[in-house]
Subunit: 126 residues, 2 copies
DNA sequence: TGCCTTGGTTACCTTCAGGTAACCCATAGA
DNA sequence: TCTATGGGTTACCTGAAGGTAACCAAGGCA
């Protein structure tokens, strides 16, 4: 009997799976963009909206709520008129965006290679 | 005139955006699980299928094809009977999974905090 | 009395990722 | 000839993500 298969890990997809969890966290369309926008410092709702190209009001609100819920973002309301709402990264949020940033810069460095791989794959399977 | 807004980056969502690209790459449901399963070494189709809990044959095939297309995974067919197909990480794939792993382990370390944040947010907004 | 501002909410609709299950192919062996 | 095995493909369907656009609320100001 070979011992190969014994050593291999099995990956579960229940909700305690850390892999599954982090992907679900930041794998949506806008979370990372918002996180990165807030790395520059606190910002207001409409400013974020114009800095993140293509995001709708609805998705900005919703994604900010989710990030706030997880403790990545702090929301502060200044009861002026008109009201001013500022969003900023918490320490947890800074940690997350730092970690994500490393991944993104890896991807950025290898972006061109990947594009070439894709192109030759597609040509070979045309 | 304040100089605040001048310094802030704008994030585009065109297809050259590296952020958008990496998220699209690995943000789907199964890519990371497959990558991590292959970190243990080359593996065969049906072995992967049983090690990655809950994945369907269709999604395993599809996700492996995508990973192969980008050059993260190498697919080798051994013309035996029945046929044997082995998948393994390329160097590029190893680099990616290493980078992703750092992010996942960050998430793993802060998983509990996030769960608590969520719980208290939900209680406050009940 | 309107209208402007910021920062939303809500209803509605479309798209598409992903699940299920049936089918395919080559060949070996009973 | 029937079945088994590995590694798929295909048709079909559903749920959820996300887009659009209309509406709201509080208050200042003209």
């Amino acid at each position: 009997m070979s011992s190969d298969k014994q050593e291999r890990r099995v990956f579960h997809n229940n909700e305690d799976c850390p892999v599954r969890n982090v992907v679900a966290q930041i794998g949506d369309k806008w979370s990372i963009l918002i996180l990165f926008a807030l790395v520059d410092g606190p910002d207001r709702f409409n400013s974020l909206r114009s800095r993140i190209e293509g995001i709708s009001q609805r998705m900005l609100t919703q994604t900010l709520r989710d990030l706030e819920r997880d403790g990545f973002v702090l929301r502060t309301v200044y009861p002026q008129v008109p009201v001013k709402v500022e969003y900023e990264l918490t320490d947890l949020g800074k940690g997350l965006s730092g970690s994500v940033w490393k991944l993104v810069s890896w991807a950025d460095n290898h972006h061109e290679t990947i594009r070439e791989n894709r192109k030759s794959y597609d040509e070979a399977n045309s």
